[in-house]
C-alpha cells in the first residue's frame, strides 16, 4: 500500500514528462529532412556542401549543385533554351514503361519523358552518381555527377518519392478555389474597385468555361483538357490588430482551402500576409501593396513592384547624383503610413553619405498646420522628400516653398493626378514607378475597355488595372499548366510565362526568374509641366536602381 502513492506519483511524473516532451516536439516544428536539405540547398547531413563533378572535370558544389536549381522546387522540371529538364518527382521516375501519363494518372508535364525503364533505387543512385539514365544513355552535360554516400542517397531518393504531384489543396476535380486577401487598413474605395474587377473576371472566366466543351478530337489526350475548371473566389477580409492576422488567415485557409491567392489589398502592413503565404506554401500573386515586404529569396509571394520602396531607391539615387551640395534631407511622412517604410529604405540607401537625413513625423491623422510646422525650418540647402497622400499635397498650397529640391511619392500622391499646388510644381520632382502616361495608354486601355463593356466603374484606376492584369496572368499561366495543379509549379510557370506577356498594364516590362520576386524593376523621375493638370515629363530615362 505505501508503494501505491509513490507509484502513482512516479506515473504522474512520467506522464508529465511525456507530455512536456510531446509539447516540446509540437512546439518546435520539424526541420527540413536530410533529403530536402540536399535537394533545395545542396547540403549534406553533415552540414558540408555536396560535391559534384561534370564531364571534363569541372566541379560544382553546395547551393550551386542543388537539384532545385534545374528541377525546381516542384520537382516537375523546367526548360531553358533548347534544353529540357525532366521532372524528377517520384511518379515520373518510377512510372512503368509503355503507359501514358494519363493512364498512370500523373499530371501532364511537357518535359516528362517516359521512354525509359522505370528507375529502381539502385539505378536511380547510379544515375545521380554516374550520370547514366535507366535506358543506359548518358545525361546532358548540364547534369552533374554527385558524390553522395549510401545513407544520404537513400534520404535523397526518399525525398524524391515524397514530392507530391497530386493536385494541391484548392484544386478540385471541377473547381479551382482562389482567395483574395484584404487587410482592415486597406482603402475602402480601392477595395470596392478591386472586388468589382475580380468578381466580374471570375464570372467571365466561368461563362467562357461553360461554353467550351471538351472536344472529341484528341480524346486520347483528355489530360490536355482537364484544365477546364470553374473558378471560385473566396474573399478573406481581415479584422483587428496585425498580430492576429496570421491566425485569422490560417483559419480561413483551413475552412476554405485555396490553390492560390490572387491580387489582394493592403494598407501599411502586409508583413503578416506575406509570412502566412510563405509558411503555408501558398502562392500569393500580385497583391496591391504599396510597400511590399520580403525578399527575392522568398518563393510564394510575387509582386508587381517594390512600390514606395522602389521610389525611395530612385530618390536616393537622385540625392547621390545631386550637382549642388545638399546639406540635409528632410523626410516627411504620417505616422503608421507606408511613407515610414519608404523613409527607412531611403535612409538605408544613403548610409555613409555626408548628407544628414532627418525625419519629420506627422500625426497619423491631423490638420494641415502640422505640415506647416514640419516644413518651417527647411532651408535652401536642404532637400525635402514628401511621403504624403493627395490630401496633404493639396494642403501644401498654404505652405511656402523654401527649397528648390523637393521629391514627392508618385504612388502615394496619385501619380500624375496628384493635386500638387502650382507653387510647388517648379521645385518638385516625382518618383514614378510605372510607365509614362503616353507610353502605357494602349496597354491600360485594354483593361479600361474591358471595364467599360462590363459596366465596372473606374474608381481606383491603377489598382483595378493591376487586379485585372493579375487575374489575366494567373489564367494564362494555368493554361500552360494543363493538369499539373501543384502550387509550386504555378509559381514556376508564372516565372516563365511573364517574359512573353505583351500587355503589361501600367508597367513597361514584367520579368521574373528564380530569385526574382518583383516583376517591374524601375521607374522614372518626372516633373509636372503645367501649373495645373496631369501633364508630366520624364527628367531622364527609365532607371533601375
Amino acid at each position: 500500500m505505501p508503494n501505491e502513492p509513490r507509484g502513482a506519483a512516479l506515473a504522474a511524473a512520467l506522464a508529465l514528462s511525456l507530455l512536456l516532451w510531446a509539447c516540446a516536439l509540437s512546439a518546435a516544428p520539424p526541420g527540413p529532412s536530410a533529403g530536402e536539405n540536399l535537394y533545395r540547398r545542396g547540403q549534406l547531413p553533415s552540414g558540408e556542401p555536396v560535391q559534384a563533378l561534370r564531364e571534363g572535370g569541372a566541379t560544382v558544389r553546395g547551393a550551386d549543385a542543388a537539384c532545385v536549381n534545374c528541377h525546381r522546387r516542384s520537382g516537375l522540371g523546367s526548360s531553358e533554351g533548347r534544353i529540357t529538364i525532366p521532372p524528377i518527382a517520384g511518379p515520373y521516375l518510377f512510372a512503368p514503361r509503355g503507359k501514358s501519363l494519363e493512364q498512370l494518372r500523373i499530371p501532364f508535364v511537357d518535359t516528362a519523358r517516359l521512354n525509359h525503364d522505370p528507375y529502381t533505387d539502385e539505378s536511380l543512385a547510379r544515375a545521380i552518381r554516374e550520370g547514366v539514365g535507366a535506358n543506359e544513355r548518358p545525361f546532358n552535360y548540364l547534369m552533374p555527377r554527385y558524390q553522395i554516400d549510401d545513407a544520404t542517397m537513400a534520404e535523397l531518393i526518399a525525398y524524391l518519392k515524397e514530392i507530391k504531384v497530386a493536385p494541391s489543396p484548392g484544386a478540385g476535380t471541377s473547381v479551382l478555389h482562389f482567395a483574395t486577401i484584404i487587410t482592415p487598413d486597406a482603402d475602402p474605395v480601392k477595395r470596392r474597385g478591386m472586388l468589382d474587377v475580380m468578381n466580374q473576371y471570375f464570372v467571365d472566366k466561368n461563362n467562357a468555361a461553360a461554353r467550351t466543351k471538351a472536344p472529341t478530337l484528341y480524346s486520347s489526350h483528355t489530360t490536355m483538357f482537364r484544365v477546364e475548371r470553374r473558378w471560385q473566389l473566396h474573399v478573406w477580409e481581415l479584422s483587428g490588430a496585425p498580430a492576429t492576422w496570421e491566425a485569422q488567415l490560417r483559419k480561413h485557409l483551413a475552412a476554405e482551402p485555396v490553390f492560390a491567392v490572387i491580387s489582394g489589398l493592403g494598407g501599411s502592413n502586409w508583413g503578416p500576409v506575406h509570412r502566412f503565404c510563405e509558411a503555408q506554401s501558398l502562392p500569393c500573386l500580385f497583391p496591391n501593396v504599396e510597400a511590399p515586404v520580403g525578399h527575392d529569396s522568398d518563393f510564394y509571394s510575387v509582386y508587381f513592384s517594390r512600390g514606395v520602396l522602389l521610389e525611395a531607391q530612385l530618390i536616393a539615387r537622385e540625392l547621390a547624383e545631386a550637382r549642388e551640395p545638399i546639406r540635409r534631407v528632410v523626410q516627411v511622412f504620417r505616422a503608421g503610413d507606408v511613407g515610414e517604410q519608404a523613409a527607412r529604405t531611403l535612409q538605408a540607401a544613403r548610409t555613409g553619405s555626408a548628407q544628414q537625413i532627418v525625419s519629420r513625423v506627422l500625426k497619423a491623422h491631423g490638420a494641415s498646420k502640422d505640415l506647416d510646422a514640419a516644413l518651417r525650418e527647411v532651408g535652401p540647402t536642404d532637400a525635402l522628400v514628401l511621403w504624403l497622400r493627395a490630401q496633404d499635397l493639396k494642403a501644401l498650397g498654404a505652405v511656402p516653398v523654401t527649397t528648390s529640391r523637393v521629391w514627392i511619392s508618385g504612388e502615394m500622391g496619385g501619380l500624375e493626378q496628384a493635386p500638387l499646388p502650382a507653387s510647388w510644381r517648379a521645385a518638385a520632382r516625382m518618383a514614378y514607378p510605372v510607365d509614362l502616361p503616353g507610353r502605357r495608354v494602349v496597354r491600360v486601355d485594354y483593361a479600361l475597355s474591358w471595364f467599360r463593356i462590363r459596366k465596372i466603374p473606374v474608381i481606383a484606376q491603377q489598382v483595378q488595372a493591376d487586379t485585372y492584369l493579375a487575374c489575366g496572368l494567373v489564367s494564362e499561366t494555368l493554361n500552360h499548366m494543363v493538369d499539373a495543379f501543384v502550387r509550386e509549379y504555378l509559381v514556376e510557370r508564372l516565372e516563365m510565362a511573364l517574359d512573353h506577356r505583351a500587355l503589361t498594364g501600367y508597367y513597361p516590362r514584367l520579368t521574373l526568374a528564380p530569385g526574382q520576386r518583383f516583376a517591374s524593376k524601375g521607374g522614372y523621375i518626372v516633373r509636372f509641366t503645367e501649373p495645373q493638370g496631369p501633364r508630366v515629363a520624364a527628367l531622364g530615362d527609365w532607371i533601375t536602381p
Binding site: 572535370g57 493554361n479 526568374a513
Partner: protein, 191 residues
Amino acid sequence: MKARTQGRLLSALLCAGALVVAVATAATVSRSSVSYEPPAVTLVRADGKTVSLPRELDDGRPVLLNFIFTTCSSICPLTSRTLEEFQHKLGREAARVHLMSISIDPEQDTPGRLSAYARKFHAGPEWQYYTGTVAASLAAQRAFDVYRGEKMSHTPVTLMRAAPGKPWLRIEGFVTPDELVDDYRHLLTAP
C-alpha cells in the same frame, strides 16, 4: 471558343515539338567562324563606368564573349564556371585575354549584382561584366545572334576573337574548360 481550342491544340503540338528537340540536342558542341558587326551602344560595366561596346571589344587583346543573367539557375552557372576554369588553366596568360559577359536581364542585373556574381566566379580583373538599358543589351544580343525571344530561352554560346578585324569563333553548346583552352590556342595560332 474556337480560338481556345486552337490554342490548346497548338500548345499540344508545341509540347510534342519540345520533346523531339530535347532528344535531338544531346550536349553537342558546334563551332563556326562568323563575322559580326557590333552595334555602337553604350553599356554599364560592373564597376559602374559607362563604356562603349565596340571600344571594349577592340581593346587590342583577344576577347572571349558570352551572355548571361545572374538569376539564371541552370545554364549560366555552368558556362560561368567554365570561364572561371578557363582563366585558371591559362594561369598568368589569363591577363592577356579579355573576358566579357553581357547581361541579357539588364534591369535585374545592376552593377552591384553583377559584381557579386563576378566575385562568386572569382573573376579576375580581365573578366568584366556589363549591363545597361534593355535596348542596348538587346542590340548586343541581336548583333551576335544570341537573342532568342526571352531570357529563359537562351542557349549556351561562347564567342572568341583573336584580334580586332579577325573573324569570330562561335561555339554553341557546353564546351569544357579544356576544349576552350584548346580553341583559344588554336585561334591565336591560326593564320
